[in-house]
Amino acid sequence: MKERLEICLSGSGGQGLILAGIILAEAAGIYDGKEAVQSQSYGPEARGGASRSEVVISNNTIDYPKVMKTDILLALTQTACDKYVKNLNEDGILLADSTIVTEVPNISNKTYLFPITETAQKKFGTKLVTNIISLGIIVGLTKVVSQEAIQKAVCSRVPVKAKEVNEKALLLGFNIAKDLRTKK
């Protein structure tokens, strides 16, 4: 794995991307013992509007805390996909929610499409776990953090009563990743 990995989780406000970033950073920083920085860019709206959560993970001290060239991109809206795919590394990985993102530019063998929101709604009756399923897929595909670490981080950051559903969502994400990989 690269010394420094840059992850961009993008979509709109209310999709839980900032929380997803925090969980990912906590998994890397606290549970995997690496260095991690999470930052975000958001507008004044609490819901809707563009939202972007960035995570930088490294084995060494992190100087510049933001993404320079994205290694892993999650796109949960078409606008976010169009905007941030431009900054994706040549060998970077793109995971897009095919429920919403219908046009994916420059499809490569590292582009993964999956109806994440639809699956969340179908399997759990709520779109709220879209972020956690996405994290599961990303970790399953990239091993950016260990599965154990992300599980612990999810449990420590979601409300107690939502723990079970989020754990299930995460596992579902792992399984989806397996399927996506075999298909390639």
Binding site: I30, Q38, S41, D63, Y64, P65, M68
Partner: protein, 381 residues
């Protein structure tokens, strides 16, 4: 998890709360404003747990006033705000300076002027931190660049404020205020906490503004048997208004001198790969992290670039910059404004080397590549 060290993933604003609590903060007054509100929220939650007090005031002016009042009554006090709020606090900040009342004011910088860019970073308030309140006055301002430094410099800010009896400004920016990073929270016994000097004389002999040798007068808290007067008017040793020009002159000079005298204690800087440098970057806050990356990238290209990172921005480290100017050919000052720190750097360099600003004001953090580009452009000149 690590069983010896207390390591957490904390947001910058949360780290400020932790640092303040470790420093012994017992009072917070504030008013909601982005991007500093998490500090107020953390204080509202945590202060009552330790018997401290939190109050959300009716405005920024009142918050600054309440903080000063609480400090006079003996509690270490904190307030936090951002640009528009910082503007409103200025008059009472001056009151704290002239009455030498310890307190810490956090300004999480966002784009301005006016409402500006509430959710985006800036370094537009550096000169405001120095000169925001009217009149001739000194100030201490600290500027962390990592979440861990927010914690340690919050402790420093409280210590300086108590030691030198002055308000201290902690200048954050939106990037580090909202960023989350690994922080090692020190055990209380591992940190140095400084408390204000108390009078050693009985009340009838106490002169509240008569300085000790270090220029700092011992401070009696209200309600401890020492009755005296505090006024925003220039005052004598007794704290009573004076129009004696000698007393006025001595007073204003002492306010400056107590900081100037201890400049070695107050100025905190970090030198990164400067020993053989021919080009120096001078930066603070989140920009310093971009600059550090730039240094690495430039060194890969064989360019002898180094970084002077400022953790104390006021008083300004003029002596260090002057020495550096004699060593290097070029100083580049990247900052998220159109030229504030660069003025100080130019002043301190005294023409010994070329000083070039690099400003960005679009609400985005300066990135390492653009600073590298600026270096390449400048060495061609």
């Amino acid at each position: 998890m690590n069983n010896q060290k207390n390591i957490k993933l904390l947001q910058g604003n949360e780290a400020c709360v932790e640092g303040a609590l470790l420093s012994g903060v017992k009072f917070f007054a504030g008013y909601p404003i982005t991007p500093s509100s998490e500090i107020a929220e953390g204080m509202a939650k945590k202060l009552p747990k330790i018997g401290g007090k939190f109050i959300q005031m009716e405005d920024e002016i009142a918050s600054m006033a309440a903080v000063i009042g609480a400090s006079m009554a003996g509690l270490k006090s904190l307030t936090a705000t951002s640009g528009p709020g910082m503007c409103l606090k200025q008059e009472n900040l001056g009151f704290a300076i002239i009455n030498e009342i310890p307190c810490v004011v956090v300004n999480a910088q966002r784009g301005g002027p006016s409402t500006g860019l509430p959710t985006k970073p800036s370094q537009g308030d550096m000169m405001q931190a120095r000169w925001g309140t009217h009149g001739d006055h000194p100030i201490i301002a600290l500027a962390p660049s990592t979440v861990n430094e927010i914690l340690t410099l919050t402790i420093k800010a409280f210590n300086f404020s108590e030691k030198y009896r002055t308000p201290v400004i902690l200048l954050l920016d939106e990037v580090i205020a909202h960023m989350r990073e690994k922080v090692e929270i020190p055990a209380p016994e591992d940190i140095e906490v400084i408390n204000r000097k108390k009078p050693t004389v009985p009340p009838e002999e106490y002169l509240p503004f008569k300085p000790d040798e270090d220029g700092v007068p011992p401070m009696a808290n209200f309600g401890e048997g020492y009755r005296y007067h505090i006024t925003g008017l220039v005052h004598n040793y007794k704290g009573l208004p004076t129009s004696d020009s000698q007393e006025i002159d001595a007073f204003i000079r002492r306010l400056h001198n107590k900081i100037e005298k201890s400049i070695k204690d107050i100025i905190i800087i970090e030198r990164y790969l400067l020993d053989d440098a021919k080009i120096a970057l001078i930066a603070y806050g989140s920009v310093a992290r971009a600059a550090e990356r730039t240094v690495k990238l430039a060194r890969e290209e064989g360019l002898k670039v180094g970084l002077l990172k400022l953790l104390t921005i006021w008083p300004f480290c003029s002596e260090e910059v002057n020495k550096l100017a004699q060593q290097v050919d070029l100083i580049i000052v990247p900052e998220m404004n159109l030229g504030q720190m660069v003025l100080e750097v130019e002043r301190a360099s005294r023409g010994k080397c070329r000083v070039v600003p690099y400003g960005r004001v679009d609400g985005e953090l300066i990135n390492p590549i653009e600073i590298l580009g600026k270096i390449r452009e400048e060495i061609k000149k």
